[in-house]
């Protein structure tokens, strides 16, 4: 089984090394051809407007949507990835590009600017001990549909959630040595 990391912009190498350490082949995905080879795709943190624009231009957005809908591709969005997966984005730029796959309403930069960025211990559903979440100009899920399972929350809103073959987190699990979020995604990819 291969798991891809969308290799347009952002924390690509960090995700690749986390996936590889979960004993799965990790491949950078930049083209439709490589997208065909993977069971799962990580959409990394970066700038959601930049990544969103470039996946449309490079023709990756359509096949990602198609395969996610047909249930043949699992997706894991972190930070900007969580924004791109959302059905609706509040106060984004006009025509904020997105994949519109997850039944969520998302707020960008929900905790403030970089100055307010932080790390904190986080209880995640199904994990036996808390993990450290690194939040960088992070978004949150302000509203989620009934089919969305909440996995972690801060007072400001939902920061980790799952909906079928889709997993989304506000924080950056690729910036710590804790690989439990990636392991969870690998398990999701195995049953795809």
């Amino acid at each position: 089984m291969k798991i891809g990391v969308l290799s347009i912009q952002g924390a690509v190498s960090e995700h690749l090394s986390h996936i590889a350490r979960c004993d799965v082949e990790a491949v950078p995905v930049k083209t439709k051809e490589t997208l065909c080879e993977v069971s799962g795709l990580v959409i990394p943190g970066g700038e959601s407007t930049t990544i969103g624009k470039l996946i449309e231009i490079s023709g990756l957005a359509a096949p990602i949507r198609e395969r996610a809908h047909s249930g043949t591709l699992a997706l894991f969005g972190t930070c900007a990835g969580l924004v791109l997966l959302a059905q609706e984005v509040l106060d984004g730029t006009k025509n904020q590009p997105k994949l519109e796959l997850m039944n969520t309403r998302v707020k960008r930069n929900a905790f403030g600017r970089q100055r307010e960025s932080f790390e904190t211990k986080l209880e995640v559903k199904g994990f036996t001990s808390p993990l450290v979440g690194v939040f960088i100009r992070a978004p949150i899920i302000v509203e989620a549909g009934e089919d969305v399972e909440e996995l972690a929350r801060l007072p400001e809103g939902i920061v980790a959630a799952r909906q079928g073959n889709l997993l989304a987190v506000s924080f950056h699990p690729e910036l710590t040595d804790d690989r439990r979020m990636h392991q969870l995604f690998v398990e999701m990819c195995k049953v795809i």
Binding site: S7, I8, T93, F118, E119, I136
Partner: protein, 294 residues
């Protein structure tokens, strides 16, 4: 409990910019063009380096009103520059909430001996470096991101190439050295042994390393990426070109597809007049901004 401004949070912010282009802008309209073109951040300043060079005199931090206007206009991160060693300008920028501070040789240095103690700030800093020693000294002062100095405002990539090659070459040397040899190298470079050990272990700088200073075309950006840059700063190259929107988009695409000559050929077509460049030999020693703050 939320812990703000940790080194991981500051350094992580730069990691999110990797593979992207950060563009110098001087007006709200330019910031909008940059965001629309796919920039990962904008650098708000009063004048682009080419105009700072032409104007002469003392170049200072930009007016907070102008920076704030740009922050209110775009949703991507906004950076701004302070003079080397001018920690009060940095306090002001942190107060107004810019996302990243560039302690920059493009502005007139305020301190000829000391850089800002960047550990004291919650906002991350980027600093310029011409070699591994400079880079690690800035990191030990708290810089969470490094960029080449290049020679700003010239539209000539030769100095950025020199600085990137130098850092990469020195990293390869560090990787190949034995522990006792590292001690001597640490002394030669004026850096701590611990940082060199970290470079040896990771085979790269401990923070993100961008290219800056003289990048004026998509091919320049791709060249710097192939030489090992994590991303690109473009200063005068965009808004001194005849067709800024087109050049901005082309540089974004070239940075993403830096290893694909087919895409590079396509985006390099019909960009119109590039910014007029400067040959290095026409610069006097005093004109060379890269010599500031070693």
């Amino acid at each position: 409990m939320k812990e703000q401004g940790t080194f991981r949070v500051k350094k992580g912010m730069a990691q999110m910019q990797k593979g992207g282009v950060i563009m110098d802008v001087t007006t709200v309209e330019q910031a909008q063009i940059a965001e629309k073109a796919g920039a990962v951040a904008v650098m708000a300043l009063e004048r682009v380096p080419a105009d700072i060079r032409a104007a002469g005199g003392v170049a200072r931090m930009a007016d907070p009103v102008m920076i704030k206007k740009i922050m209110d206009t775009v949703t991507i991160p906004v950076m701004a520059k302070v003079r080397i060693g001018h920690f009060t300008e940095a306090q002001i920028l942190e107060e107004i909430g810019v996302d990243y501070i560039d302690e920059s040789e493009v502005l007139t240095p305020a301190d000829e001996q000391y850089h800002i103690n960047k550990h004291e700030f919650k906002v991350p800093f980027v600093c310029g470096a011409r070699d591994l020693g400079e880079a690690l000294r800035r990191i030990s002062e708290g810089a969470a991101m490094i960029r080449t100095k290049g020679e700003p405002g010239t539209g000539n990539v030769v100095e950025a190439v020199r600085h990137m090659r130098k850092v990469m070459d020195q990293i390869r040397q560090v990787v190949g050295k034995a522990e006792d040899e590292l001690v001597v190298m640490a002394k030669e470079l004026g850096v701590s042994l611990e940082w060199l050990q970290e470079v040896k272990k990771a085979g790269r700088l401990p923070v993100v390393n961008f290219a800056a200073g003289g990048i004026a075309s998509p091919a320049d950006a791709a060249l710097m990426m192939q030489l090992g840059s994590d991303g690109i700063f473009v200063g005068s190259g965009i808004f001194k070109a005849a067709n800024p929107q087109k050049v901005a988009e082309a540089i974004v695409k070239a940075t993403m597809n830096y290893d694909d000559p087919k895409v590079l050929a396509e985006v390099s077509r019909g960009l119109g007049e590039a910014m007029p460049g400067l040959e290095m030999s026409t610069l006097t020693q005093a004109d060379r901004m890269q010599e500031r703050g070693a």
